[in-house]
C-alpha cells in the first residue's frame, strides 16, 4: 500500500474534478441568492423599530455564528426530515443538494445581515435627511441615495462572505453531495485510497485559484463603483 508521491496524479485529476465545479457553484450560488434575500429581511428587522424583531434577528445571527457549518449541515439533514415526519411529510427522498442549499442559505443570511446592517449604518443620516429635504419620499431617499452608497460599502464584505460560503460548501460531501470534493473522494476510493494526497492537492489548487479569481473580481468591482463617487480620497 505504501506508494510514493507522484505529482502526475495532481495534473491528471484536475480535469476529472473541474466538471463537478458546476454542482459546487450551483449550491453556492443558490445559497448566496436566497441568503441575500433572507439577510435583507434580517437587516430590516435589525434596523427597524420593533424591539422583538430586533432581538429575534440578533439572536438568530448569534446562534448561527456559534454553530460550526458541519453541525448545522447535519442538523438540517437529519432534523428537517424528522420535523417533516411530524407533519406527515416524507422529506427523506429530497435531493441532498436541497439540504446543502438550506444550510448555507441560513448561514449566509446571518453573515449578510451583519454586512448589510453595518453598511447601512455607515451611511451618515444626513444623506437621508438631505434627500427628504429636497422632496424625495422616504423610499426614494433610501433607494436612490442611501442604498447605492451602502452597496459600495458592503461590497468587500459581501465578497468575503461569498468566498466563505464557497469554502464551507466543501463540507457538503459529508452528506453525500457529489460536488468537486465529493468527486475527489470518489476518485480516491476508486484508487483504493492510494495517492489521496495528490488528489487533495489538486482540490486545493482548484479552490485556491478560484478564491484568488473571485477576490480579484471583487477588488475590480470595488474600484469601478468607488471611482470618484465615494469620499475615499478626501476623508
Amino acid at each position: 500500500m505504501e506508494k510514493y508521491f507522484d505529482a502526475s496524479y495532481i495534473w491528471e485529476s484536475i480535469p476529472l474534478l473541474i466538471p463537478f465545479l458546476k454542482m459546487t457553484f450551483m449550491v453556492a450560488g443558490l445559497s448566496v441568492l436566497f441568503g441575500t434575500l433572507l439577510g435583507f429581511i434580517l437587516t430590516v428587522a435589525k434596523t427597524g423599530k420593533s424591539k422583538f424583531a430586533r432581538k429575534l434577528a440578533t439572536g438568530y445571527t448569534t446562534i448561527i455564528r456559534c454553530t460550526p457549518s458541519i453541525v448545522l449541515l447535519f442538523l438540517v439533514y437529519y432534523g428537517l426530515p424528522a420535523i417533516g415526519d411530524r407533519f406527515g411529510l416524507n422529506l427523506n427522498n429530497i435531493d441532498t443538494a436541497v439540504f446543502v442549499i438550506i444550510t448555507f442559505t441560513l448561514q449566509f443570511a446571518a453573515a449578510m445581515s451583519e454586512v448589510m446592517r453595518s453598511a447601512f449604518q455607515s451611511i451618515d443620516n444626513g444623506q437621508f435627511e438631505a434627500a427628504v429635504s429636497v422632496g424625495l419620499s422616504n423610499s426614494q431617499a433610501y433607494r436612490r441615495i442611501v442604498f447605492p452608497q451602502a452597496f459600495v460599502v458592503a461590497l468587500p464584505n459581501f465578497g468575503n462572505s461569498l468566498l466563505a460560503v464557497l469554502q464551507e460548501g466543501s463540507l457538503a460531501y459529508t452528506i453525500g453531495l457529489i460536488d468537486v470534493v465529493g468527486k475527489a473522494n470518489l476518485i480516491i476510493a476508486g484508487n483504493y485510497n492510494a495517492h489521496a494526497l495528490e488528489i487533495f492537492l489538486a482540490l486545493a489548487i482548484i479552490y485556491w485559484i478560484l478564491s484568488i479569481a473571485i477576490e480579484q473580481f471583487f477588488l475590480k468591482l470595488e474600484q469601478v463603483f468607488s471611482k470618484g463617487k465615494q469620499g475615499l480620497k478626501t476623508a
Binding site: D124, G126, Q127, E129, A130, A131, V132, S133, V134, G135, L136, S137, Q140, R144, I145, P148, Q149, V152, G228, K229, Q230, G231, L232, K233, T234
Partner: protein
C-alpha cells in the same frame, strides 16, 4: 408667510424648545443667534420635520399643520416649499454636483430631466461653480461643497430656505465664499431663515434678528435694535462675549 407657533421639543428629559414662535414674511432674511445648545438648530429641524416636535404648529399660506402629528402628505407639502442647507452640507456622495441639484427636481417634483438640468446648471452658475457640474463631492473643497448645497436648495425655487449654520463646519478661509453666495441670493429677494454665528452677516444682511437662549426666544428685532440697544441682559452678555472689540454697527 410662515408662522411657527408654540414649538416644544425635548430629547429624553432635556427640554430643548420651550414654546418658540417665529413669524417670517416674504423677502425676510431672519437670523437666529444664540449660544450652542440654545435650540436654534433643533427649531430649524422641526420646521422641516427632520425632528418631530412634541407640539407646535406651522401655518404656511393655507396650509396649517401640527409639527408633532403631521401626516406624510402634509410633510411632503411643506418640504416642497421649504429647502434646507445643512451644516455638514450632506451632499449626496454618489451623485455629481449637477445630479445633486437635479435630484430633488426630477425625483421629488417630477420636473422633466432636460428642464431640471437647465435649472440645475443655472443654480450652479449662480454659486460660481460653472466648471464643476460633473465633479463628485469628494472632488470639491468644503466651500465648494457648501455652495453646491446652496444651489441644491435654490434650484428647488422654494418659498423659504433654511440655513443651519452653513459655515461653521468650514475652515476660516472658506467661509467668505459661502457668505458671499448667501448675500447674493438674499439680495435677489429670497426668503431666508438662517442660524449662524457670523455676526457680520446678521448685521449686514438680516432685516430681523432673533436671539435664542435656553429653548426660548429672549429677544427679537431689527439688527439695529439687537446689536446697538439690546434690552435683555442675556442678550447683552451674549453679544459682549461673541462680538469682537472693534465691532461697530453702521447704518
Amino acid at each position: 408667510m410662515l408662522e411657527i407657533k408654540d414649538v416644544y421639543k425635548s430629547f429624553g428629559k432635556t427640554e430643548i424648545l420651550k414654546g418658540v414662535d417665529v413669524t417670517i414674511d416674504k423677502g425676510d432674511v431672519v437670523v437666529i443667534l444664540g449660544p450652542s445648545g440654545s435650540g436654534k438648530t433643533t427649531l430649524l429641524r422641526c420646521i422641516n420635520f427632520l425632528e418631530k416636535a412634541d407640539q407646535g404648529r406651522a401655518v404656511f399660506g393655507d396650509i396649517d399643520v401640527n409639527l408633532g402629528t403631521a401626516t406624510k402628505k402634509q410633510i411632503h407639502q411643506i418640504r416642497q416649499k421649504i429647502a434646507f442647507v445643512f451644516q455638514s452640507n450632506n451632499l449626496f456622495n454618489n451623485k455629481t454636483a449637477l445630479e445633486n441639484v437635479t435630484e430633488g427636481l426630477v425625483i421629488g417634483r417630477k420636473v422633466p430631466k432636460e428642464e431640471a438640468v437647465k435649472i440645475g446648471k443655472k443654480a450652479l452658475d449662480k454659486v460660481g461653480l460653472t466648471d464643476k457640474y460633473d465633479a463628485y463631492p469628494s472632488e470639491l473643497s468644503g466651500g465648494q461643497q457648501q455652495r453646491v448645497g446652496i444651489a441644491r436648495a435654490v434650484a428647488l425655487n422654494p418659498d423659504i430656505i433654511l440655513f443651519d449654520e452653513p459655515t461653521s463646519a468650514l475652515d476660516p478661509e472658506l467661509v467668505g465664499e459661502v457668505l458671499t453666495v448667501m448675500k447674493n441670493i438674499a439680495r435677489e429677494g429670497t426668503t431666508m431663515l438662517v442660524v449662524t454665528h457670523e455676526m457680520d452677516f446678521a448685521k449686514d444682511v438680516a432685516n430681523k434678528v432673533i436671539f435664542m437662549d435656553g429653548g426660548v426666544i429672549v429677544e427679537e428685532g431689527t439688527p439695529h435694535e439687537i446689536f446697538v440697544n439690546p434690552k435683555e441682559e442675556r442678550t447683552q452678555k451674549f453679544l459682549k462675549r461673541v462680538l469682537p472689540e472693534d465691532f461697530t454697527y453702521h447704518i
